[in-house]
Amino acid sequence: MTAPMIDIKHHLTDNLLMAYSAGTLPEGFNLVVATHISFCDECRAHMHEFDAVGGAIMAAEDPIAMSDNSFSATLDLIENSDVLTPFRHISSGSFPTPLQEYVGGDLDAVKWRKVGGGVRQAILKTDKSTSVRLLHIPAGAAVPDHGHRGTELTLVLQGAFSDKTDSFYKGDIEVATEDLNHQPIAEMGEDCICLAATDAPLRFNSLIPRLLQPFLQI
């Protein structure tokens, strides 16, 4: 994940970044945001900037007195819990560290399952507020046409896909909301691997995927 950075055209939105900084995003979206930022200096700078807004808000609070023994209690905490900061390595594989922590390894550790049309998926375990999956779409293949009841974040990890809005390459993120119906198609040349998170079930526009939906957990 080290230099040089890839050329990224589709970035995170300000409201996602602000919510990430405020700590109010659902877990699955946090994962997609953290993975995108691992690829993207521009959004990383943006993240620091939104953290600075939080710092300014906190610094401007009218102080509320701490309890009388708070300082000595804090010193006790320091003396009695000498926790070492866990060392967090820099990924040398295909996936950035935050994603590897959810997969339990790199690309070769993913446990894929077929979902039809040559497409494979792997559900990543998060809390119930979002549904998160890795998608493997063969070059030239399509994900069924669908709409959204909430927000869907799709981050390209390998290859590229296109829908009616644009083309998305490695590191690009598509933020789809209720007003978008689309049918992502993997570009020719290389299979496309994406990280996708939704906070509401998708709305498939044809019968078969709709019938399969409970089994696909999508």
């Binding site: 950075m5 405020a22 700590g23 700078a45 939080g54 300014a56 708070s70 820099i90 909430g150």
Partner: protein, 223 residues
């Protein structure tokens, strides 16, 4: 032992900052044992941002209790206030604020003054603790950049970032009430991401370009 930390703050900000660029400053003594409870917790005059950066260096390099006491007296009541405004009970806010300050002591070596002011760094610790403790949720962090905070920060970047942070604070304070209220409510956790309107008009330009410059330079140095 009561240390007057003003002795460490040389006239002029860059000199004070220099201590953060040199992890083991010559003459910096690291006491082997100490009784943390001897510290005087009387509030002092409010140091500026660069002085807080210097305090963090003293905590990191010398385990300086007096510097820590000053940071505690200034920031802990603000962390507590922020947490209470975010819907945390007073008791829990007190507990988390103590935990945040203990984390600051333990992780002082991870503070990077080219990326954040001390208040921003404390905010991120408080936010993470709030998610861990109160929401019992995970918040994955981006991969670290290959250079860690161990690299000596460029003093120009430190100074510029700290100044820009001050400007950002002023600009936020000057925002029209309605806009400021929306932003503050977002940080208190009262708005979901879809309720946060696109935050146009936020005075973020300066600090953004400054951080970007610093990142570019560091990335270039890594090649």
């Amino acid at each position: 032992m009561i240390t007057n930390t003003s002795l460490f703050i040389l006239p002029g900000a860059p000199a004070a900052l220099r201590s953060y660029g040199v992890p083991k400053a010559s003459g910096a003594k690291r006491p082997i044992t100490f009784d943390l409870k001897e510290v005087n917790v009387t509030p002092r005059t409010k140091p500026d941002r660069l002085a807080w950066v210097n305090h963090l260096a003293l905590i990191r390099d010398q385990k300086d209790r007096a510097a820590f006491a000053e940071v505690f007296v200034h920031f802990a009541p603000r962390v507590k206030a922020f947490l209470m405004k975010s819907g945390t009970s007073p008791d829990m806010a007190e507990e988390v604020a103590q935990d945040v300050m203990a984390t600051l002591w333990r992780k002082a070596h991870l503070f990077d003054p080219t990326k954040a002011s001390v208040s921003t760094w404390i905010f991120t610790i408080a936010r993470n603790r709030r998610i861990d403790i109160l929401r019992k949720q995970r918040r994955p962090e981006p991969e670290d950049m290959t250079w860690g905070p161990v690299s000596e920060p460029d003093q120009v970047d430190v100074l510029a970032l700290q100044q820009d942070s001050a400007k950002l604070s002023e600009a936020l304070a000057d925002l029209p009430h309605k806009q400021k209220d929306l932003i503050v409510r977002a940080y208190y956790g009262e708005l979901t991401h879809s309720e946060i309107a696109e935050a146009t008009g936020l005075p973020l330009g300066t600090i953004k370009s400054r951080i970007r410059l610093a990142l570019n330079r560091l990335r270039h140095q890594m090649k």
